[in-house]
């Protein structure tokens, strides 16, 4: 029997078996940001420990950074404290840091790949659940808590149990107007928000083979929303093409390609589980509830509570009450107060290109507040060079500086009261976008653009 990529990467990075029965895994690349790292540096200091391999950690600022007025000190004193702590912790420990002035600043999961830090076969960890994004390159990348950040800073390793691997085959023929975002929302809706607990997801099949790196990142990014901590795609020519010539890619690139190719899952690799999804009939997806598994097609109806499996009814009925939506209705025509294009799920250049292409020549509905927040400085630079910002601004969108922004509303970008937001982000949890009563409907960037223009939820394919 052959091996899958996870098994190979695991073996390469295993230091030893621990007395608890877990494995001690070497973390090749560690990424940090301002929210989950200061406490870890604090713990390290309290124990008199040093950062073992500072050259393996990279930091940036994303969660709290304002996306309009970025002058220092930030207006929000707490945010200013956090960025100062990160600056101090990185410079004091010789860790590379890409701050607001850097050309490389951005959402940590967009920054890593752009710089070529994210490479096939690496183990990658970051104190952020969407670290799964980096799996798109054939890395084993996982979100960790602050205690593990401390462990990695001190030992470059962490205690882990090896996950099982579920192969997800995505096949068929994807229709125009349907995107990677719709595929991953469908997978989460089908397998459930906790269906992936204990698993790593390996994505493959003709659709994944044909996808760009950016689309693969969108899929891997939301893996965690289905309960799986790790998601990955085997490295192939698309991967190598993307990495070529980036700042941190290895010098002996051809040699690296050979090494990387050998890491891909063998043809006869073993899997613990298999799931097939044909996306030929898939339509744009939307969420109607309060977790990413509450997703349906744009022309489908919200499920009737009594028809759901019993253990889902309670959450579903709470979700309908909270969202002020009724079972059996479609979401089309629901008024949209805010439209948000951005986040580590859909804040990359291809997302902005697709949305801009759709928006061109149209106008945002006067009752909708619409904003585009590029995922990184480099995305925003590219977009501005291509004139995408002008298209958005002319249509009535606000064009912002890079950061996480309204994905989790730790900066000034927030929903107010019961506002409903069409959002290209990844979580529709209650309170996620900054108002305890604010409502989030997740969808692809093009669907967000359509919602902004119509002022209500609609099928973008009917507006072209």
């Amino acid at each position: 029997m052959g091996k899958n990529l996870l098994q190979k990467v695991w073996e390469n990075h295993k230091v030893t078996r621990l007395p608890t029965g877990q494995d001690q895994i070497f973390i090749a690349l560690h990424l940090i940001h301002e929210v989950t790292s200061p406490q870890a540096f604090g713990m390290l200091k309290a124990r008199g420990l040093k950062v073992l391999y500072p050259e393996r950690t990279f930091g940036t600022v994303d969660h709290i950074i304002p996306t309009d007025k970025r002058e220092r000190p930030f207006e929000d004193k707490l945010a200013e404290n956090m960025i100062q702590a990160l600056e101090k912790n990185t410079s004091g420990n010789n860790i590379s840091y890409f701050g607001p002035e850097s050309d490389h600043q951005g959402i940590v999961h967009i920054m890593g790949p752009e710089l070529g830090l994210t490479q096939p076969g690496l183990t990658i960890a970051c104190g952020d659940s969407h670290t799964s994004t980096h799996g798109a390159f054939g890395a084993i990348a996982l979100g960790i808590g602050t205690s593990q950040i401390r462990d990695i800073l001190a030992t470059q390793t962490m205690a882990l149990s090896k996950p099982k691997v579920r192969r997800i085959n995505i096949t068929g023929d994807l229709k125009p107007g349907v995107y990677a975002k719709d595929i991953i929302l469908k997978i989460i809706a089908e397998l459930g928000v906790n269906g992936g607990i204990g698993f790593a997801y390996e994505y493959g099949g003709n659709i994944v083979d044909e996808m760009s790196m950016e689309e693969r990142m969108t899929i891997c990014n939301m893996t965690i929303e289905g309960g799986a901590r790790v998601g990955y795609v085997n490295p192939d020519d698309t991967t190598f093409e993307y990495l070529k010539g980036r700042l941190y890619t290895p010098e002996d690139f051809d040699n690296s390609i050979k090494k990387w190719k050998a890491l891909a899952s063998d043809k006869d690799a073993e899997y613990d589980d298999l799931y097939n999804l044909d996306v030929t009939d898939l339509e744009p997806m939307l969420t109607w509830g309060i977790n990413p598994g509450h997703a349906i097609g744009v022309n489908q109806r919200i499920p009737i509570i009594e028809e759901l499996p019993e253990d889902q009814r309670q959450t579903a009925s709470h979700a309908c009450d909270f969202m002020d939506l009724s079972p059996g209705q479609t979401l089309k025509g629901t008024k949209v107060d805010v439209a948000f294009i951005g986040s580590c799920t859909n804040g990359r250049i291809s997302d902005l290109r697709e949305a801009a292409e759709f928006v061109k020549g149209k106008k945002v509905n006067p009752s909708t507040r619409a904003l585009v927040v590029p995922g990184s400085r480099s995305v925003s630079n590219m977009a501005e060079k291509e004139g995408l910002h002008k298209i958005f601004i002319e249509a009535g969108f606000q064009w912002r500086e890079p950061g996480c922004s309204m994905c989790l509303a730790m900066n000034p970008d927030k929903l107010k009261g019961i506002e409903l937001c069409a959002s290209s982000s990844n979580r529709n949890f209650i309170g996620r976008q900054g108002s305890p009563t604010g409502r989030t409907v997740l969808m692809s960037p093009v669907m967000v653009a359509a919602a902004a223009i119509k002022g209500e939820i609609c099928d973008s394919r009917e507006m072209i």
Binding site: T16, L18, P19, T20, G21, Q24, F26, V35, T36, P38, Q39, G42, R47, L52, Y53, I64, D76, A79, N81, M82, G127, D128, S129, T131, G143, I144, G145, T146, S147, Q148, R150, D151, A154, T155, Q156, T157, M158, A159, S161, V193, N194, I197, G198, G227, R229, I290, N291, D311, Q314, H318, A409, M410, R427, F429, I430, G431, R432, G434, P436, T437
Partner: protein, 195 residues
């Protein structure tokens, strides 16, 4: 020395609901902090308080459960973010042990790192425990990680828990840094081969 966590005795709080996510346990706006101290005041903030700061109807606001330390909840508890702020906020309100049908993986890991046992029981048991506690909040609950038993009042139940977490807690190895540090030589070798 790290404390061995083998037995917990206290009283429980029934917190009904599936998929209670980390944004609910501690809303992101309260995470602008440089230490984990004092997060307890924000635990479940948006479900405990109205936007005017008035207390809402929530088990954590009820005098019936004041000072109780074992949280009994349902399926997929702690899903969402990797923020360790969530278990710290629970710890800040005095939670020493959690009982649920299942947990999000990162959350369970974070609980273990903080020395909070996260026990797994089946749906029937959760319902029974929650009902019993609602009817008689004062009932004593005892958890024994060595024997794998859980006692509520006079009644015994069994629970599950990943062996690695159980072992780490009962042997006092839940603080992973010192355990990992023991293999520094092997780490250095690995670093060389992976350069």
């Amino acid at each position: 020395m790290i404390k061995k966590i083998q037995q917990i005795t206290g009283q429980a709080i029934p917190l009904k609901g599936n998929d209670i996510d980390t944004d609910r346990i501690i809303p992101a706006r309260f995470m602008k902090c440089l230490t984990f101290d004092g997060l307890g005041q924000f635990a479940f903030y948006d479900v405990r308080f109205s936007d005017k700061g008035e207390e809402k109807d929530h088990p954590l606001n009820s005098p019936d459960y004041a000072g109780h330390s074992v949280l009994i909840t349902n399926r997929n508890f702690g899903c969402g973010s990797s923020r360790e702020h969530a278990p710290w906020a629970l710890s800040g309100i005095g939670i020493k042990c959690i009982i649920a049908q299942s947990y999000a993986e990162i959350f369970a890991n974070n609980c273990s790192s903080l020395g909070i046992p996260a026990l797994i029981v089946d749906e029937e048991t959760v319902t029974k425990l929650q009902n019993k506690v609602s009817a008689h909040p004062e009932t004593e609950i005892k958890v024994n990680l060595l024997t794998g038993t859980l006692t509520l009042g006079e009644e015994n139940f069994s629970f599950d828990m990943p062996e690695t977490y159980r072992k780490a807690l009962v042997e006092g190895k839940w603080d992973t840094t010192s355990m990992l540090m023991e293999n520094l030589e092997a780490i250095k070798k690995k670093n060389q081969t992976l350069k």
